[in-house]
């Protein structure tokens, strides 16, 4: 009995194992050299899917467009998207795989700051350009040689809000933030920058990003008797915050982060969204921008292409991937080669590059290239985004 059991334990799994490994190891070795390979590590599913999904869609759309035009410098572009589900360990695994095995030219992503920080070292060691779509300041500060990022800095968003508050003579605020990376980073910047603008934080609450009711939290803020509320989070909680706040009778202005930049949340919040103030890139108000704005043509085209391809409104997050991809192609074009080092240097010398997030001015000490002007203060009027006047 025991003998038979043992033999089965050893042999059956052994055969399965050997067979699967044989297929894995030797079935996937063939490769062609011609196209430029671009890897993308995005959270297409999981808790950060609101970032990764539009980013992945945008990249697919852009790569198809490039290849239809005949590629870049005569090379076709091959896109390898890896869904990390916002797990750092997967991002690490995929980064290693893309660099060591697929030998990609550059990596776009990851979508979240936590993942980007985990693979920063991998990109440095592998001498591969990493264009992160995540917002955190730490990604490019201090500067790592191969790591860039396209979203606007959190600190600039906070500065934009504080500048607006100064105008409105607000000095005592309540802060709410979600417990995801986005909320965490924003909260840190608010706490850091508030003293500089003479603003005191009277209440500071962190809530679960998946929370479905925040009445208790806003009640606590209300009790602190503040002049304004800043909420720093991503869907769906940020729409719930404003609803709950208005329901318990809070009348003070509510500021949101640039994470509010998706018309779906305005629709979800309904009437409560009216008058909400938030800083954002100009993509959301592309239609109403003056013709003189250098970003207008690009933004309108992206919005039109995205809407017609995917039958949904673009969000600023997809724009981050758009910028990452176009910056990379532009740099390849300027370097006139597919040498990684040359392209990396070319990115560092991009000036006045028009993207969805703003006008990028890179330098060896600034791997983000955007400043506070990338933001426009927006508000919600009649269920639509509008520029605050």
């Amino acid at each position: 009995m025991r003998g038979k059991r043992m033999s089965l334990k050893g042999t059956v799994p052994g055969i399965v194992l050997a067979a699967s490994l044989a297929i894995l190891l030797f079935g996937t070795v063939a490769r062609a050299a011609e196209p430029i390979k671009i890897g993308a590590i995005l959270s297409v599913t999981g808790p950060a899917s609101f970032l990764g999904a539009p980013e992945a869609k945008t990249l697919e759309m852009l790569v198809a467009e490039t290849n239809k035009k005949g590629g870049v410098l005569g090379h076709k572009v091959e896109l390898i998207i890896k869904d990390s589900g916002a797990s750092p360990e997967k991002a690490f695994s995929f980064a290693k795989q893309l660099i060591d095995e697929d030998k990609v030219f550059a990596i776009i992503g990851p979508s979240t700051s936590g993942e980007t920080m985990k693979i920063k070292g991998v990109a440095e060691a592998g001498k591969t350009i990493l264009l992160s779509c995540a917002a955190a300041e730490d990604i490019v500060n201090p500067v790592a040689k191969w790591v860039f990022k396209t979203p606007q800095k959190d600190s600039d968003a906070v500065i934009k809000i504080f500048q607006q508050m100064k105008k409105m003579k607000i000095s005592k605020i309540g802060v709410l933030s979600g417990n995801d990376g986005f909320g965490n980073a924003g909260k840190g910047q608010i706490e850091k920058l508030a003293p500089k603008y003479g603003i005191t934080i009277a209440a500071n609450e962190v809530y679960d990003a998946k929370a479905s009711d925040l009445t208790a939290e806003v009640t606590k803020i209300k009790a602190a008797n503040v002049q304004a509320i800043i909420n720093w989070s991503v869907v769906p909680a940020q729409a719930i915050v404003i609803k709950n706040a208005r329901q318990i009778g809070i009348k003070v202005p509510i500021f949101q982060s640039h994470g509010f930049g998706n018309i779906k949340y305005v629709q979800a919040a309904g009437a409560a969204a009216e008058g909400v103030l938030f800083p954002a890139g100009r993509l959301l108000v592309a239609d109403v921008l003056p013709k003189s704005n250098p970003q207008k043509a690009l933004l309108v085209k992206y919005a039109k292409d995205y809407t017609s391809t995917y039958k949904e409104q673009p969000s600023t997050f997809g724009g981050h991937a758009y910028d990452a991809y176009t910056i990379l192609l532009k740099a390849i074009g300027q370097a006139k080669s597919t040498d990684k080092e040359a392209v990396r240097t070319a990115i560092e010398h991009l000036h006045g590059f028009v993207g969805t997030g703003g006008i990028f001015n890179f330098s060896p000490t600034d791997h983000n290239g955007l400043n506070v002007d990338a933001f426009e203060m927006l508000t919600v009027k009649n269920g639509k985004f509008a520029v605050l006047k």
Binding site: V206, S212, Y265, A271
Partner: protein
């Protein structure tokens, strides 16, 4: 989750009440199909096995929902009023949708209590829950009862989803957390007692809301789970359940 999602999708085509009705019926059918496909034909499954299977199914539904509806958040409009209108009751502001939730919740509990206490079918179901073999000996078709219970709980879940989703929104993964919380409440109240479950739900909700005055809000979710563990350790029959009754059930 499924109920809310289907209702939102249908609401684009038909008026609200019809959309909700459709969502509830469709979710009931899904519940029945799941039971018939995955559970019914198993020969005397252990409870643990069923638990693992249902966990697997919930993952599957979530992933299917992700691929059908995508990752975006959706919501139904408020049944009456709008998202900012509220009713002032002696200084306390209550949204009209909250009244809908409470009202429909009370209605559901009343209906369930009546069903289990007064109708033959309801009594048969309770008999099956208490002791399946004995119930079968009395001529009750236990298998149909299990299917029925799946359909019934799917219907209630769908109604719940439709009613709260104007407030909380619905996303492909909004079910999991609710399921865990629901289980906590059910155990807290003692399984198989819907009135006690409501009481337990209120206690849990109040404790959770108050916990944020003492602890950072980020730990709110951990509080309700800690309560669940404490109850399981101390009095597995729930705070309102009787220990003797629980012992008779075959878990």
């Amino acid at each position: 989750m499924l109920g809310g999602m289907i209702a939102v999708t249908m609401h684009k085509l038909v008026p609200l009440p019809l959309a909700i009705l459709f969502a509830v019926v469709l979710t009931m059918i899904v519940g029945a199909v799941i039971e018939i496909v995955f559970i019914r034909w198993l020969h005397k499954p252990s409870v643990l096995r069923m638990v693992i299977i249902t966990i697997g199914i919930s993952i599957l539904i979530r992933e299917i929902a992700l691929h059908i509806w995508g990752e975006s958040v959706r919501a139904l409009p408020y049944f009456t009023g709008s998202s900012v209108s509220s009713i002032n009751l002696g200084g306390v502001y209550i949204s009209s949708q909250v009244l809908w939730v409470v009202g429909i919740g009370a209605l559901a509990v009343a209906a369930l209590t009546a069903f289990f206490g007064l109708t033959m079918l309801g009594r048969q179901m309770r008999a099956c829950a208490a002791n399946r073999d004995a119930a079968r000996l009395c001529g009750i078709d236990a298998k149909n009862m299990v299917t029925l219970s799946f359909v019934l709980s799917a219907a209630i879940g769908a109604i719940g989803g439709c009613v709260v989703c104007p407030i909380t929104y619905v996303q492909y993964d909004s079910g999991t957390q609710l399921a865990i919380k629901g289980f906590t409440v059910a155990i807290l109240g003692g399984l198989g007692n819907s009135t006690a479950a409501v009481g337990a739900g209120m206690i849990l909700g109040i404790l959770e809301s108050f916990s944020i005055w003492v602890l950072p809000t980020a730990y709110k979710e951990a509080i309700s789970i800690a309560i669940l563990l404490a109850i399981l350790f101390v009095k597995p029959s729930g705070i309102f359940g009787s220990a003797e009754a629980a012992r008779l059930k075959e878990f």
